[in-house]
């Protein structure tokens, strides 16, 4: 396994109370695999990503759990150790590429710096590698773009440069947090295409965080669905989309317009996601769930009703119930 996250809890201790942003997350990802992490806003996707990167700041803290990268524990590692891990073994891509790029430095300066921070290599060789990396993410005339400043590039180009930087050191793992959400359809599909082929080529594992189920369907091998700080369902992409087990996943899928339901009413999940500062007792989805019973006042544990598909629910679909 490239990464094994077990029972991760990341909380924010604010004046208004404890925000349990991540509250018991487990997942694994194998080399070259693409995992789609989906959920609505506030469900804890980004904080899961930041926890893995070791980028949780006050008032937040990883309160318990384990994050192992190729067997090596990252929770509790020193800041020095984490700095070596970041950019070299784990890289992150953000929705806004300017989180990665320095506006006052030329692209070549930043890229060469990113390589030389982790490796003894001549400037010339580093430059050659940067040029290849830009070519691989579909940037035309990479030689020229290397000499550009970020503001001279379009949004799509900047995101490509950020992706090229993430892949530069062929890290074990990349965490991409809504990397194409701000981009147009044709540019999004170019970037997904490039990320997909880079993962295949380098064996880098990729966590693709998004709220867009259709994007995940197109790119991911496996999917993990988050709700109120927990993963409520995970499995192979086909299994989860075709035969979802969790009532929340079923509701989400029903609310996406698709061509075979053109014009019909969409399924509505009633109500809104709960406030993670003040979660209801028992199952966090209980208040919105059509399958709820008195059993759901306790906390559901993870079960595996089907091979390679896990769910956190007392009454999952597809078990005597109708799908």
């Amino acid at each position: 396994m490239t990464l094994t996250v077990s029972n991760l809890h990341t909380h924010f201790f604010t004046r208004a109370g404890v925000v349990k942003a991540v509250d018991g997350v487990d997942f694994q990802i194998a080399p070259g695999e693409i995992l789609g992490l989906v959920g609505e806003s506030g469900s804890g996707k980004s904080i899961t990503g930041f926890s893995i990167m070791g980028l949780i700041d006050d008032p937040g803290r990883i309160v318990s759990g384990s994050i192992r990268l190729k067997g090596e524990e990252l929770v509790g590692a020193s800041e020095d150790a984490m700095r070596t891990v970041r950019g070299n073994r784990i890289a992150m891509i953000f929705q806004d590429p300017m989180m990665t790029l320095n506006p006052v430095l030329r692209v070549d300066t930043q890229m060469v710096e990113a390589i030389r921070a982790h490796e003894k290599i001549s400037k010339r060789d580093a430059l050659a590698r940067c040029r290849d990396a830009l070519g691989m993410v579909g940037i035309p005339a990479p030689e020229e773009r290397l000499r550009a400043y970020p503001h001279q590039l379009s949004g799509g180009m900047r995101q490509r440069v950020a992706i090229a930087i993430a892949f530069l050191n062929e890290p074990d793992l990349i965490i991409a947090d809504e990397p194409t959400t701000a981009l147009d359809v044709t540019i999004q599909s170019q970037i997904i295409h490039e990320a997909q082929s880079l993962c295949k080529r380098t064996g880098t594992a990729l966590v693709w965080i998004t709220h867009d189920l259709a994007v995940v369907a197109g790119i991911a091998d496996r999917i993990a669905v988050m709700y109120a700080g927990r993963i409520v369902e995970t499995g192979d992409i086909d299994a989860v989309i075709d035969t979802a087990l969790h009532p929340y996943t079923v509701g989400l899928l029903g609310s996406v317009p698709t061509s075979n339901r053109r014009g019909e009413r969409l399924t509505q999940i009633p109500g809104m996601p709960p406030n993670v500062m003040n979660l209801p007792k028992g199952c966090a989805f209980g208040e919105r769930c059509p399958r709820r019973s008195s059993e759901c006042d306790a906390e559901p544990l993870i079960t595996e009703p089907r091979p390679a598909q896990a769910v956190r629910c007392f009454h999952p679909h597809g078990q005597g119930g109708k799908l």
Binding site: T186, Q190, A217, V256, S259
Partner: protein, 330 residues
Amino acid sequence: MTTPILETRNATKRFSRTLDFAAKLAQRLGANVSDETVHAVDGVDLQIMPGEVVGLVGESGCGKSTLGRMVAGILPPTEGSIVFNGVDIAAMDAKAARKAALEIQMIFQDPFASLNPRMRVDQIIGEAPLFHGIVSRAELSDYVDDIMRRTGLDPSLKRRYPHQFSGGQRQRIGIARALAVKPRFLVCDEAIAALDVSIQAQIINLFVDLREELDLTYLFISHDLSVVEHISDRVVIMYLGRVVESAPIADIFDAPNHPYTVALLNEAPRLDQRNRNFQPVKGEIPSPLDPPPGCHFHPRCPHAHARCSAERPVLREVAPGRLSACHLND
């Protein structure tokens, strides 16, 4: 034949950025700067029939919002005209213009920015109908309750302020405010884009219900093809300020005509297409400051030929009810 409820004739909007003093000086000294003109919308002819839902799709900056604002009468066209119920809006007398302004309402993407934070919900919804005499002061409270119920809001919350509502509820408030003046035509500009998936479904269903209950006509602007496919009767595709294709919804999804439409449909992510091998169209969307000559799409088009960079393809009927602007149809 029925008259369209709304028509744009050669609707054109140019925004120009004139040079400031320093730039003019630089120009006099021989620097290569000039006044910049954005052709945000470039000669659009559009006809919308009463009761129709027309989806307007295109990538960022192609002019959807600008066209929507011209249709809603918020932005005057630089050239061309907007015709409502057969009458040019620019030629209407004051009374007719006021009536048209009420009958066409616009709903925006960001529900929060478009609501006055210091007004209570009942004031936000009730202000315009009271002012325009659509409802008397005595009936106002019941009127507001009724509209709130219709849009899925609990009338007992009417004394609250916008910040006390969730994003989805704020969008409902925005819709309620628009409906309060009894419009016939709604321009919805990315009206669900800022909402979470499960909340989007609630609002899409609301638009569908309201259309049936109130006999509304929509111009539904969205960059999300699957949402447009779900809600519209007809779709209009724009690229860099121009309409490139217009067709009934089933036709365009089953057999797109314009190469740009084909690319958009291929690349839009869909639930039923798993782990796919993306075959993206090449290149970036060109700057509207300096659009390519001839067919705007030619630098990215896999079928481009000599004529495409020389001559603008006209939007014309290629099959009954279907319009496309591509030289391949000749």
